[in-house]
Amino acid sequence: MKIIALYNIKGGVGKTAACVNLGYLAASEGYSTLICDLDPQGAASFYFRIKASRKQTARKLLKKKNPLKRYIRGTDFNHLDLIPADISYRNLDIFLDKTKKSKSRLKKLLLAFQDEYQFIFLDCPPNITLVSENVFQASHHVLVPVIPTTLSILAYEKLFNFFKKHHYNTNKLVPFFSMVEKRKKMHTEIINNYSHQFPGMRKSLIPYSADVEKMGLQRKPVLVFRKNSPASRSYRYLWKEIQQTMKGISQGKQ
C-alpha cells in the first residue's frame, strides 16, 4: 500500500483537482484506491457527490478502534472509494493534540487498510499544522502542486526547509507545476528557472484550465467528462511520472 498526499502550505493551487484525478487514474488501472478527504472544505467529497454522515466528526475519526472503515463510501467508479470530509475537521488539530503520539496517529489509522487498498490519496488542508505533520509521517510521497508564481515558489521553499529542519525525508517531496498559463511570461520564466533548481521537480505541467474548473459543475474527475483535454493528458503524464518515482524508490534509487 502506498500513501500519497497532495499538499501545499498555500491554498488554491490545485491540490484537490490533482488528488481526485490521480486517484481516479489509479483506480481505473485496477488498483484498489481510497481518497481520504482531510480538508474541512470537503471539495474532494463534493466532486464525488458524497456527503459525510452526521455521525462522522473529527473526534470520532481519531478513535482507536479503527473507526475510519465505517465512513468509507464507494464512488461512482470501480475500485475507487472515499472517506468524505466534515466541517468538524477544522478542529482536527485540537483533537490530535490530545492524543498520545499525536504526530503518528493518522499513519496508524491508515495502516489498518494495508490489505484492502493499494493506494491511499490524502487531500490535505493548507497550512502547516499538526494534521500536516501527521500527513508527512504517514505518506510515502508528498505531491506538492506549485503555481509558477513567486509566492508559490516561496511556499514550496518554506516547506522544503521545514522538512529539513524537522528531519522528514525530503525525498518524499514531489513538486510539480500546477495551474500553468503558458501565455503568462512570468509562468514560463519561473518554470524555466526553477525546473532545474528544485530537486525532483517533475516535468508534468498541469495547465490552468476551464475544464478543471468545470469539475465543480460536472462533479466528476475531468478525466471522465473531457478525456482528451490538455488537463486530462497532463494528469495522465503526471501519474506516469509518479509511478516511475515509486518504482525508483522501491528499487532503491532516487
Binding site: 457527490r49 458524497i50 465512513y71 464507494g74 461512482d76
Partner: protein, 512 residues
C-alpha cells in the same frame, strides 16, 4: 451482491418502473460479451468455488461464493486447452498453480451474454446501487440453450440501506433471490455433474440389497468412466484422462477377482484376460507420463553442471511417450477394444450377475467377508515387512494387496459408519502414497540402469550423462531407504490394537 431470477416476461420493465418511483435511474449502454469457461477435467476450480473464463481479451478468475473477480490477466488467444505453465508470470498464475498443477485447463462451455447496466441515484445524483440485467445463452456441444434473465444487485459501499430498499421493491414482485452463482446455474443447465468426472465414484447402497445388484451398479459406473475418458486420451489433452481410465480398469479387475464366486466362470475368465491385457497395454504410457512429471524435481536434485545432461534423457522419453500415446490412441479405436467393451456392457445389462445363485446374498454380508479376507492379507504382508528387511518384490505385493483392500472399503463405505471408514481409508491412503512413490522409484531406477548400460562412451557427452544418472540413482536409493523407514511408522497406524478392535466390530475381523 445478490442475484434474482426474472422468470416472467416483462418483469424487468415492471421492476424498473417501481424502482423509478424511489430512485433516479441512470441507464448505461448494453454490453455484449462472449465468455469461454475453462476448468480441468475433474473440475478442480469449481470444487474450490472458482471459475476461470476468457472474455474481452482477458482471462478472469472468479470466486463463486462472492461473485468477485479475484485475478485477471490480458490474454488474446482462445485455445481449446491451456496449461498453467504456459501463462506469463502473474497473480492469476500464482492462484491457479497450486490448484491445477500440471493438469490441462479445458474449454468446458461458452456463454453469450447481453448485460444492461443500470445505476440507482440518490438526490445528489450519486450512484448508490448498481443493477445489471443479464440474458445468457449457453453454448455446449454445438447446442444453444437460452437461460432466464437475471437481475444482479450490487450495493455500493456505504450505501447498503439504499441497496436494501431496492431489494425490498424487487422482492415485492415475488421474485426470488438465487442461492447459487450464475456459473453454477450454467453448469446445471448444461447437465454437467462435476462429481461424475472422476474415477472416485461414491456408491450409496442399502446394506440389504443383493450383492449381485451392487456389483452390477459398480461395474456399470466404471465402464462409463472408461468411456468418458477415451476421447481425452485419444486427443492427448491431459494425462489425467489416462490415469482415470486406468483406475477404473484396475478397480473393475480388482472387484472381478474378489467377487469371482458370483460372476459366471466362463465370462469371468474371459473378461479377466481382456481387462488385464487392456491394463498392460496402457502401462508403458502411464510410466512415461509419471517419469516426465519428474523432469523438474530430478533436475533440482543434480548440481547445476549436470542438469543439462538430463535434457537428452527427457527428450528421449518425450519421443517414446509420443509413440506410446499413439499406440494407446489406436488401441481405443481398435475393433478389438470396441467389441470387448460392447460385450462387457451386454454382459452387465443382461442381468447375469443378478441371476447367479450367490447373487442374492445381502451386500453387507458379502462385503464384510471379502474385506476381512483382504484385511488379513494386508496385515500379514505388513507384519512380514516390519520383521525383516523388505525387498522390492515384497513391497510391490503389499501395494497390490493394499489397493484391493482400499477399493473394497471405498465401494462399500456407505454400508458402514462414515467416520470409522474414513479413518481406515485415510490410514491406508497414507501407506499407499508411500508404496506408490516407492514403486515409481523402482521403475525409474530400472529404466535409468538400462539406459546407463546402453550409453555409448565414445560420445563426448556420455560421461556427463552417466554422472547425472549416477547422481539420480544414488538419490533414488536414499529415497527408497527413507520410504521404508516411513512405511514402518505408517504400518503401525493400521496395525494398532485400537484399530484392530475397530476392524473386529466393523467387519467381524478375528485374529487367529
Amino acid at each position: 451482491m445478490q442475484y434474482y431470477l426474472l422468470e416472467k416476461r416483462n418483469q424487468a420493465n415492471l421492476v424498473l418502473n417501481a424502482l423509478a418511483k424511489t430512485f433516479k435511474i441512470e441507464k448505461n449502454t448494453v454490453n455484449k460479451e462472449n465468455r469461454r469457461y475453462y476448468d480441468s477435467v475433474d473440475w478442480r476450480l469449481l470444487r474450490q468455488n472458482l471459475c476461470l473464463y476468457h472474455a474481452e481479451k482477458q482471462l478472469h478468475l472468479g470466486n463463486l461464493n462472492y461473485n468477485l473477480t479475484i485475478a485477471n490477466f490480458p490474454f488474446e488467444n482462445l485455445p481449446q486447452t491451456l496449461f498453467v505453465k504456459e501463462l506469463p508470470a502473474s497473480s492469476l498464475k500464482n492462484r491457479l498453480k497450486p490448484i491445477i498443477d500440471v493438469r490441462a485447463l479445458i474449454h468446458q462451455l461458452s456463454e453469450k451474454c447481453t448485460a444492461q447496466e443500470i445505476y440507482l441515484l440518490n438526490t445528489d445524483d450519486k450512484r448508490v446501487v448498481r443493477l445489471c440485467f443479464r440474458r445468457s445463452i449457453l453454448l455446449r456441444d454445438q447446442k444453444e440453450s437460452p437461460l432466464n434473465q437475471t437481475l444482479q444487485v450490487n450495493p455500493i459501499r456505504g450505501y447498503e440501506k439504499e441497496s436494501e430498499m431496492a431489494q425490498e421493491i424487487i422482492r415485492d414482485f415475488g421474485i426470488e433471490s438465487l442461492s447459487d452463482s450464475l456459473f453454477r446455474r450454467l453448469i446445471g443447465t448444461a447437465g454437467i455433474k462435476p462429481e461424475r468426472h472422476s474415477s472416485k465414484i461414491k456408491f450409496d447402497f442399502q446394506d440389504t440389497i443383493p450383492i449381485g445388484e451392487a456389483l452390477q451398479k459398480i461395474f456399470i459406473q466404471f465402464a462409463e468412466v472408461m468411456k468418458r475418458n477415451e476421447a481425452g486420451i485419444r486427443k492427448d489433452i491431459d494425462i489425467e484422462f489416462l490415469h482415470d481410465f486406468r483406475v477404473a480398469v484396475r478397480r473393475t479387475r480388482s472387484l472381478m477377482s474378489q467377487a469371482k464366486s458370483i460372476i459366471p466362470a466362463r465370462e469371468g475368465a474371459y473378461f479377466k484376460i481382456k481387462f488385464a491385457d487392456l491394463q498392460k497395454k496402457t502401462n508403458n504410457l502411464r510410466d512415461l507420463d509419471v517419469f516426465l512429471l519428474k523432469e523438474q524435481p530430478f533436475k533440482k536434485i543434480l548440481p547445476v553442471s549436470l542438469k543439462k545432461s538430463l535434457d537428452s534423457l527427457f527428450d528421449d522419453i518425450r519421443q517414446q511417450r509420443r509413440n506410446a500415446q499413439q499406440n494407446v490412441a489406436e488401441l481405443l479405436v481398435s475393433k478389438e477394444y470396441r467389441e470387448m467393451m460392447k460385450e462387457w456392457s451386454h454382459f452387465l445389462r443382461a442381468g447375469q450377475l443378478l441371476s447367479h445363485p450367490e447373487a442374492k446374498i445381502p451386500v453387507v454380508r458379502f462385503a464384510k467377508k471379502i474385506i476381512r479376507k483382504r484385511l488379513k492379507r494386508v496385515l500379514l504382508e505388513m507384519n512380514n515387512l516390519i520383521i525383516g528387511s523388505p525387498q522390492d518384490g515384497q513391497i510391490h505385493a503389499l501395494r497390490i494387496e493394499a489397493k484391493k483392500l482400499r477399493y473394497l472399503l471405498e465401494f462399500f463405505s456407505s454400508i458402514f459408519p462414515v467416520q470409522e471408514m474414513n479413518e481406515i481409508v485415510d490410514h491406508l491412503k497414507g501407506v499407499q502414497d508411500l508404496l506408490g512413490s516407492y514403486n515409481d522409484l523402482v521403475i525409474q531406477s530400472r529404466d535409468l540402469e538400462k539406459r546407463l548400460s546402453e550409453l555409448n562412451f565414445s560420445n563426448k557427452t556420455a560421461s556427463r550423462t552417466a554422472a547425472a544418472f549416477g547422481g539420480l540413482l544414488t538419490h533414488f536409493t536414499q529415497e527408497k531407504v527413507a520410504i521404508k523407514k516411513q512405511l514402518k511408522k505408517t504400518f503401525q497406524l493400521i496395525n494398532d490394537p485400537t484399530q484392530i478392535k475397530k476392524y473386529q466390530s466393523l467387519f467381524n475381523y478375528r485374529i487367529k
